[in-house]
């Protein structure tokens, strides 16, 4: 049984390579059928805000890539409730859909995975 990995993505989609790197790890792991979870924490939840346009900044559209996760076998997506609330996203429809976790839920989530990496 392959070891499961939780990837914690906590960078905004526009601040540098962190968000892209976290996503690439998830896609690569998913393509190899590893059990992958992806948690959006801190500024990482900004990746889930709808209606973003990467082309305006001459960047590839990370939000479009995120929607491919389920085809790569990564459908365990989570976001931190507090991070969302702090950034005004508590009542926003997120894309792709994620399971929203409170502090207790986050602790349980992390304990369910064999490996955790935070970018």
């Amino acid at each position: 049984m392959a070891r499961s990995m939780l990837i914690v993505s906590r960078q905004s989609p526009w601040s540098g390579p962190g968000a892209r790197e976290a996503l690439d790890i998830a896609l690569a792991g998913g393509a190899y059928d590893l059990p992958i979870g992806l948690l959006f924490l801190d500024d990482g939840v900004l990746q889930l805000a709808p209606g973003q346009h990467g082309a305006t900044l001459q960047q590839k559209d990370l939000t479009a890539n995120l929607k491919a996760l389920s085809l790569f076998g990564v459908d365990k997506l989570y976001a931190c409730a507090r991070s969302l609330a702090d950034r005004g996203l508590a009542n926003t429809a997120l894309a792709p859909a994620v399971e929203i976790l409170d502090a207790q839920g986050l602790a349980e989530l992390i304990n369910r995975y064999d490996q955790v990496i935070t970018l």
Binding site: D24, L27, A31, A64, N65, K67, A68, L71, F72, G73
Partner: protein, 112 residues
Amino acid sequence: MNERLIVGEHPVALDKEGYLVDLDDWSEAVALQLATAEGIELEADHWEIIGLLRAFYSEFQLSPATRPLVKYVARELGPEKGNSQHLNRLFNGTPAKLAAKLAGLPKPSNCL
């Protein structure tokens, strides 16, 4: 060393692995010529997959690795075509890389 393809009168730039440098250069004529270079004669079954790959890219902005490609094809065309046997047969055993090339997409980055 980078190559060029001449399609009609237009030079089309390729990277050193034979993928299009500019995705906007793609046309069916370009696909035909790339396929000939790979020893493949494009038929309806090929075009169907090439069309799907271009749709995949325009939706997700990335080239799929084999597993997601199979899943996507199965979702769109059903399991008779969305399986690795069918795709391997069409694209010489490396469907993710070769079909992406013929569809004018970048090389799939999660395909080692």
